[in-house]
Amino acid sequence: MSTEWGTMLWVFRRELGARFDSLSALTVTIVFALVAHGLYYFLGHPVGDLQLPSLWAGQVASLQVVFAWLPLLFVGLIPALTMGAWAEERASGTQELLFTWPVSGRASVLGKFFAVWFFLGLVLAVAILPLAVMVAGLGDLDWGAVFGGLAGAFLLAGACISISLFLSSLFTEQLSAFLSSALLLGLLWSAGLLIHVMPPSLADAVFYASPYSHFFDSAARGVFDLRDLIYHVSLMVAGLWCNTLVVEGRRWA
């Protein structure tokens, strides 16, 4: 077990190091921060049932607008971060090299997963904490809601990453991995918007399956709900297990 833990850590470091080596990590962080800030300052959240004004129009010390955008921002960001995780390894042939090392499929999957998750956590902190500090300087910010929102966003990101990584493992081309992943996450995000046109029995189930209902209706408002934790963890476990199945299957094929 300790060897597997060690190899997982080794993969984690390797993946994270590779990410930091390229300028893309910095670019992604800066673009994400600028987009989130721009939406918060100038646009608000004019989408769906949840219409929120921008910071200056609303004049309220709250980060709800940023949190409302996060699930949609993840639809673009997470597939971009994960598309190369397996697809590139397969395309460049490094996957076979990886399989020759004494690293189990589970350790590889977990190492890659935690590397992306850690990086995304960093991106979230870098983009959102300075905003929170600024807003707290201008009004009475509810820090409980902010930390609840950040924790919820981190969990949501974990669930999305595990799904995206699994999809990445199914494709050889990065673009296919990106598109399929973005499509699936986009569908999950839009489930909350489509409930008005769905049959009622389906609407209820789809709304519950949507990450939106497990993030914005609870964590983004500072509420810890055990059902949300179960939802996110079950998605993570399912995604990682499927990913491991695919990788292990390929190793022995």
Binding site: L23, V123, A127, V133, D204, R227, W241
Partner: protein, 619 residues
Amino acid sequence: MSAKSMKRATQRWNAALSIALLVVIVVFVNDAARKHVSFKRDLSEDQLYAASPELEKRLGELDDVLVVRAFLTASPEQGAVQIAKSQLVSQLRDYEEASKGRIRLDFVDPNSSSEAKFEAVRLGIKPTQIAGNVATGGRGQEVWLGISLKYRGAERAIPLVMPQTLEYAFASELFRLMRGYTPKIGWFGPSQGLTPKAGDPTYVQARRVLQLAGELVDLETLSTSEGVPDDIDLLVVVRPDSLHPRAAFAIDQYLQGGGRAILALDNHHYSLSGQDLPAAHRVTGLEMLLDIWGVPLSKGILWDRNCVTVTTRNPVAGADGTVGDVLTKTDYTFWPSIDANGLAKDVPVTARLGGLVTYWTQAILEKTLPDGVRRIDLARSSDESWIVDAPNTVTFDPSLVRSQGIELSATAEPKSYPIVTALTGKLPSPFGFGKYPGAPKPLEFFDAVIGDKQWEGEVTDEAILSGVEEAHVVVMGDADWLRDGVQGYFFTPDNYGVYSASFLGSLVDWLLLEEDLVALRSRSPISRPLTDFLKVEREARELAGSAGTVNYDEAEVRTKSEDEAEAAASASRTSAMAAATGGSLLAAFLFVGLPGFLRTRRRSEFEVLDEANPKGGKS
């Protein structure tokens, strides 16, 4: 097929089956969690999204089984209603768990059970007609979203609930069931179901709030009856006008008997309809009481810089002869806007209220209080208020406001005045005993005849109560805030009246000693305004309280200082944004860019070492 390809196919099948099984497990686990897990903790300061401690406490105090019957349509055709229904079910299950077995929960659908439908109708629960879902070909549906609570033989119903209102409605009815009776609220004021004259204020919305809190009883007159009925738990007196001393006596004696009252008073009557009542100073008839209690009203009204900005549209002729509308914004200083700083923080009624707007308001002056009487000022005007003579007409004129502001600043120091005050204690009576100079002696007015009715009581000086029981009174220097909404002002669910209903409801609960309900009602988001840079800059430049005219002539009319203030405010906003975004960029370079740069540099150093020492060395 070769053995290898067969093996590969088998592996694929196994993988596909495993994934399908996993999906089923995930769905099953989440479905089970949805139905059986209800652990939830609200980490926010607002505490809006989890069962409140007050409700949990009351549920823990149940010493018998509470039967909760939810009359919910099983499958609403609209997805949004279906989700609301699911949330209601989830919330009720939370309550069931919090009660530790004292709640028996029962779900029925009146659309599919005639017995349930009959029972719902008997309890006054009615279905709501919702439009059909066009996308799914629905044709509309009667939806039931009602709840009944049964406890120790008594039963109460909530005809229509939504997730946002469930907790308060559930708790109200539960408290009443546990207490065993519904409080009676006496309404003594104008427009009691009669058709009001044009221009007269009506109070339909405020009365609706009172009806939610208890049984509303209209007291037609206090002058000719035997006073306030004994079974009235709370008396609400709204805009009394020249009350006969008998009515004042009835109110006084009700309070002497330990009564509770809200007195919303106006010495000046204004209207926005153009059919103004005379704005001259009027007499409420309660002046004696207020004076002896130590809370007299000012004769003039408050002029407050912190006020409502009114937008009016006036036609003007341009230079080319065309007529257009000019939009004028006036800081109408006779409508004080009380912000969170002006509200008492240590009283549950106002602790979490975001604000309150009052209209043509009298200040409650500060006088020596009778012995043992406690005074709490629930709402106060801003520090920049003056008491001025009430104007005869309603005029929205920014230049007039500006000149008044300059004149007032030059003549008197501004100060904050109480607008809503609560008194608790044994209040003295001005009647009888010769305690209050000028008060009519009881026999002088008890023998008088009003209309065709004679006062039936037999009252002597000795029979008059004074300072006997502890009374609770809330005196308000304004009654207009209770008026039905007009043009977005007064008692409206939006705009400036947004807090009125919450304030009135909380006040009633507080006076009825249902402080737990006050805590529940005030579970609205805490007001968290951002720094208003424009206000800060204007205050720094000592600009008058008028917002000025907003039209194409604006630039010409505005003073240089105002332009500077706006520019400075804009610069402050930009600085704030730049600071936050700059902070993010700096953090990105420090935590993402720098580690990457250091790794790359370290690797290139090793590469140089490798080149210099190709036969050995570590790299």
